[in-house]
């Protein structure tokens, strides 16, 4: 029980750190890092949701009880989706740097207003 509560708490703190990083930081790399943190936090939340005290990995043969395998499948999918998102974001950052020679959001203001 403690492990589950602990990971839920950690996941929520990480989600908030990620969101805070995205909103408050003016560097595009920090934005992408924030996205990565948000993604990881949700993954931790889902995996912890499937944990059972004293459970074994969901690979047969299982001695005793198994943890819930369904969240593992989602998490795998979500990791890959998140990685594609991040890769695309980094590619955009590189392309944008070619034009502006900076990754500072305050100096990139072509589309304001």
């Amino acid at each position: 029980m403690t492990i589950i509560t602990l990971s839920h708490g950690t996941a929520i703190i990480l989600f908030c750190i990620g969101l805070y990083t995205i909103i408050s930081k003016r560097n595009l790399f920090k934005t992408v890092i924030g996205l990565s943190l948000m993604e990881s936090s949700v993954l931790l939340l889902i995996v912890a949701a499937g944990f059972v005290q004293g459970g074994r990995p969901p690979i047969l043969p299982i001695e005793g009880i198994a943890v819930n395998p369904l969240p593992h499948a989602f998490t795998l999918t979500a990791i890959v989706i998140g990685a594609s998102d991040l890769a695309l974001a980094l590619a955009f950052v590189i392309k944008l740097h070619q034009r502006y020679k900076t990754v500072d959001l305050d100096k990139i203001r072509g589309l304001r207003g």
């Binding site: 993604e39 369904l70 594609s84 695309l88």
Partner: protein, 487 residues
């Protein structure tokens, strides 16, 4: 079975195009046209068959609780119809302009089409998230397709906000999973009333935040004008016409299935956000001088109209919302294609530089005026009818302020569209040169004719019954659940 093909066929085309490019480059041109037509017809036929009778397909032969089920009921069928028409128009516009040259564009286009259809027909909430992400990634890439700096910047903005929205949706799904242990939407609809209220609040809040970001509703709309105006013509039409509507479908489906009885506050929030979008979108559009940005802000406002309809949570409101969505699809596809062509032809997007357009682009301006009249809501056209029904539904549901905002927004929109038209009809300089864009003119003209036709729909009882059936079917969640769990 045909409902499954609406996803698989475009997906297969997207995987095939690189192979054709490698082995038989000369076939590419014909193959792409053929693929586009095939996708259109498959989607339409899936919509028709789903309309007649709810069509299910069980993937892998597993029953609904174990595997993934695809389901086409009347609401899905209506939106499939919308996606087929809008996607087809955008495909023709881009094919007429680009030919087969940038083949990667078509790969992304077919992926977008496949995932949109997937979002519309899936019956599993995690599967919905997966398709939603394919569809969002494809949309970011289509925005950035021209690789001009505006496009890249708009694409990055769209990507960052869209990804934040996606993670909020994923968080909501994680909470749903923690609370119930299952993901089938019909099952969830049955078990969600039994979970604690605080958890339900979190689920509703994170799903709504995520979906509002993805839709581009007022407080979090700032990616939308950039993305919709920086993309190339056909992509702008696709984004405004179809992509936004698919997000609205998701909101509609989830809010009706999960929160209709358990959390009515969700509908109040949707109504409030819709009202804010109407006012905010129109007031921002008033200040724009760039014609594509003006149209994009107008999209924000029109999203607000649809959200007011959804927010009533009643059959009449949902029917009106869909009717407005399909009207707006025709109007915006036509307007964006016409405006995009004018902007490319005249090499400017500033409306002050488009003075006197009527004297040398006569047909374009006539079509543009007709579409403008429809979007503002001149009496016999489609826009008027849908707004009228939205207003009726909103007042019937007791939302008087949104109904007033709707009327007020219409007045503002009349003002700024009149300003654009007054520039078009005033006298101006002679044109630099003239091109004969029959292709774009034909698509925009067809959209305008459809707007005229849609104005007739409410007057013919048999046609109006089709539209009102959508709302009745959407509210009837019991039928959806019993259909899905029948096997």
């Amino acid at each position: 079975m045909i409902s499954l093909l609406t996803v698989l066929i475009p997906l297969t085309w997207a995987f095939l195009i690189p192979l054709i490019h490698i082995f038989r480059k000369t076939w590419l041109k014909r193959a792409i046209l053929l693929f586009g037509i095939a996708v259109f017809f498959v989607t339409i036929s899936a919509a028709i068959s789903g309309w007649k009778q709810s069509a299910l397909s069980f993937l892998g032969g597993w029953p609904a609780e174990l595997g993934i089920v695809l389901i086409v009921d009347k609401l899905s069928a209506a939106f499939l119809f919308l996606s087929a028409i809008g996607g087809g128009a955008a495909f023709l516009a881009s094919y007429g302009r680009l030919k087969e040259g940038p083949w990667r564009y078509y790969v992304i286009f077919f992926l977008l089409q496949a995932s949109m259809n997937g979002v519309l027909i899936t019956g599993d909430i995690f599967n919905l998230y997966v398709f939603y992400e394919v569809f969002s990634l494809a949309a970011y890439l289509l925005v950035a397709f021209t690789i001009s700096w505006q496009a890249i910047e708009a694409g990055l903005k769209y990507l960052v906000l869209g990804t934040i929205g996606a993670f909020f949706i994923l968080l909501g799904i994680a909470y749903i999973f923690m609370a119930t242990g299952s993901l089938n939407m019909a099952v969830l609809s049955l078990v969600l009333p039994h979970i604690p209220n605080e958890a339900l609040t979190v689920i509703a809040a994170s799903l709504l935040i995520g979906l509002f970001i993805k839709i581009g509703a007022f407080p979090v709309h700032f990616w939308l004008p950039d993305a919709h105006s920086s993309a190339q013509t056909a992509v702008s039409a696709l984004l405004s016409g179809v992509v936004v509507k698919v997000s609205i479908y998701t909101l509609l489906r989830l809010s009706l299935l999960l929160f209709l009885e358990t959390k009515p506050a969700v509908f109040t929030v949707i109504t409030v956000v819709g009202t804010l979008s109407v006012l905010g979108g129109h007031l921002m559009a008033l200040r724009q001088e760039d014609i594509k940005r003006l149209l994009a802000y107008s999209t924000v406002a029109q999203i607000g109209y649809v959200l007011i309809g959804v927010g009533t949570g009643m059959a009449a409101g949902i029917s009106a919302a869909f009717f407005h969505a399909i009207n707006h699809m025709f109007m915006k596809v036509g307007l964006f294609i016409a405006a995009g062509h004018i902007a490319e032809d005249m090499k400017t997007r500033n409306i002050y530089d488009l003075r006197g357009l009527y004297h040398h682009r006569r047909w374009f301006v006539i079509v543009f005026s007709l579409l403008t009249a429809a979007i503002v809501g001149i009496h016999p056209l489609g826009g008027f009818m849908s707004k009228w029904y939205l207003m009726l539904a909103a007042t019937k549901a007791g939302n008087v302020i949104p109904a007033l905002a709707l009327a007020f927004g219409t007045v503002i929109s009349a003002f700024y569209y009149m300003r654009v038209l007054s520039f078009f009809y005033s006298s101006g300089d002679p044109p630099p040169r003239q091109t004969y864009p029959y292709w774009n003119l034909a698509i925009a003209g067809a959209c305008a004719l459809c707007c005229v036709f849609l104005g007739i729909v409410p007057l013919v009882p048999s046609l109006w019954k089709l539209v009102s059936d959508i709302g009745l079917n959407a509210v009837d969640t019991a039928e959806y659940i019993s259909t899905m769990l029948s096997k």
